[in-house]
Amino acid sequence: MTFLPIVARELRIAARRPGTYRVRSGAALVLILMGTWLYLTKQNAPTQDIAMGLFCMSTGIVVLYCLLSGVQFTADCLSEEKREGTLGLLFLTDLKGYDVVLGKLVATSLNGFYAVLAVVPVMALPLLLGGVEPGEFGRMAVVVVNTLFFSLALGMCVSALSRSPRKAMAMTFFLILLLTAILPACGAWLAAMGKTQQLGRAWLMPSAGFSYYQAFDTPYKLGEAEFWWSVAVIHGLGWIALVLAAVIVPRSWQDRPAGAQRLRWRERWHWWSFGNPAERIEFRRRMLDRGAYFWLAARARLGPAYVWAVLGLVGCGWVWGIAKARRDWFEEGTYVFTGLLLNLVLKVWFALEAGKQLAEDRRQGALELLLSTPLTVREILRGQRLALERQFLGPVLAVLMVFFLFLTASSSDAMSQQNPEDRTLWMLFWAALMLMLVADLAGLYWVGMWEGLAAKNPTRAAATNVGRILVLPWVVLGVVALVAPLMWPHLEGVPVAKYLLGLWFGLGLAADVGFGAWARQKLLAEFRLAATRRYEPLLGFWKRVLSRGERASPAVPQGEAPHS
């Protein structure tokens, strides 16, 4: 049991983390609230229907949570130790790869396991209401635990290969998406293209979504073996991922000297990213003259090219679609899908970039150097804004142009199947999307910069930025959509699309303006103070609230006025 010391160490760390306690109570609370809502909205329905609705909803949320646990808990657990150089220390002892992997797995699964444990009683409520069989509940419990294990193991395997937190999390998410959704979608597509008679079961077996579906009584009775095969395949994949992680991790923790070929490739990549020496000098002079921080944040000259490349891919998809479907391609569904895809990609990418440089500077200790120079806070903010403009302004204008074309198409007579009211709604939708894109980018810029300065690491900075500006309005919208039928039952049957669009727009704008203004004020008034906070002991949430006003932070040497 040589992995036990690692478990003990990790458990001690987890015990000090407030998140350990928040996750389990939060998870149970969310399910209880949603269950209550479902119960209240379906009061007149038969008890069995309420029970089944409650069961589907609660188990669906739990399975989704388990699927994403790998991204949250294990994707960066080994890579973080590699970056900080602590993994090597473990391997200087008698520990083997499997000790480290198992120890880490046990420790990192704690939060996920607690959350699942907290919601199992809520999941069992429909059992008491009737309408859900004990076998169904038992199978669902198996699916939940199996999915959690699979996701954590996959995250562990990717973490063993990676060093960068962002790449590790993105790769884990992609692999989960591949096995859970893309493979079944490929199978369905092949079946639709007539290559196979029916959707091949092999495409579905590794999907947690399939095992979730098969756990219900009706599909289970039709294909008992398929459920167990799916569970076994997912479980087997989990073990394969764990074994791979145990094999890879002792071989990947050391910095190996790069071979001649690798060095050549590295050099080529450097030239490709930053240009040849003459180009670099010219580029640097031009940009340094506009602002020192601008050059620092924008010196990877290919930044804009990558964004254009992604837009180009979407363009290729359109060319393929037009060639395949001809005039049928030009319909609202395609426009909406394209619009939302472009919208999401640009905003998330922008959110990742907004505070990255500042967060990296802070993490490496370079911010201390920058702040001891006469570079002002305004110059830093301006430099970052110019860098983001350089990377995103062209693509954003292009996307706005595309949205405008969609708006025009929605208003044209070609959409003759729509009634005038629908047409107005579509036009409002596109106009709102265009305004929201601009407003969200402004909000993401300010919040991203502030979080880059205040958050623990660049990944958390980006996550908080996305959470506040992009996710929170949707959560509030979802809550309002859930609560509205309870508060105004007479609205049932009234078309609500216009109101929802207005609400979405209003909430989004409120988040942009509210959080953006707050972050801007913080940046201009407390930039230097926030940059020095890493040297102060952190207080917990309640201590911060209770000590507010008692412990004023010392004034920052200004020289530049607070708003300069």
Binding site: H270, F274, P277, R280, R284, R285, L288, D289, A292, W295, L296, R299, D361, Q364, G365, A366, L367, E368, L369, L370, L371, S372, T373, P374, L375, T376, R528, L529, A531, T532, Y535, E536, P537, L539, R551, S553, P554, A555, V556, P557, Q558, G559, E560
Partner: protein, 315 residues
Amino acid sequence: MNAPPIPAVQTFGLTRLYGSITALDKLDLTVNKGDLFGFIGSNGAGKTTTLRILATFLAPSAGTAQILGHDLLREADAVRHVIGYMPDFFGVYKDMEVTEYLDFFGACYKIPTAQREKTVNDVLELVGLTEKKGALIGALSRGMQQRLGLARVLIHDPQLLLLDEPASGLDPRARIEMMAILQELQRLGKTIIISSHILSELQTLCNRVAIIEKGRLIYSGPVQGVRDQVSQGQVVWVRVSTEPTQAIELLKARKEIAEVTTTDGEIKVTLAGPEIEHSIVADILVRGGAKLIELREDEVGLEEVFMRVTRGETQ
């Protein structure tokens, strides 16, 4: 008559709290122009905090400082133009080239574009990195990265250098080279405040030192001054070619001598008071017929001084 020294740095009751911990407790410190000033203290004594405050990176909880005539709190911008700060741990942008790095910091200090190339070449030459100007920083050794840090500090020709452990992690050769560069900089008229744990080097390098413990100043002044304070009476070491017993007897018989002991064939003679000349020892021995080979003054090293004046308390 010598002109009174002009202070480059003067702190007035500088205090810094981290929560309930007092990292710096009413520090009053004066560093004169042209000084190579050693800042000595255990880990957690408050050296880094002091340097961060002087570099305008951290704000004091109370007190203030004057740096080359500028108030630290009210004229921080002006202070940033006249200081060069090198932290103990600093980020070096590993994917940048040496020239790019210095050019960037030159731009941060608003050096005009036309001047920057020459300035970069000059500082690279000063720290001996000219041959590495096209190298990636990530490929440089630790010693070279430290030199690059020093080059960055010098890029805007500051009058005051604040160097926090500039020699930490360097091999002996790199350390000696770094110290030689610092001496050269002092010769060029820079005022340098350097914190280090390698006291033997500070002893030869610095003309003045400050010793700090638990955020409080214990001593500030010339190196010799602190030595004199801690030496308990004057000590002279003697070697004779004959049997030491005779020499010991001769010395013990005199009232000017407080104590005589032997260690590894050497005789340690403690004089009874500071007013007594060392030459009396030679006189006694020669007159008594002992054959004197060597007589040397006992010099208290900075390490011993540090051990005697501090209690090893940390916070």
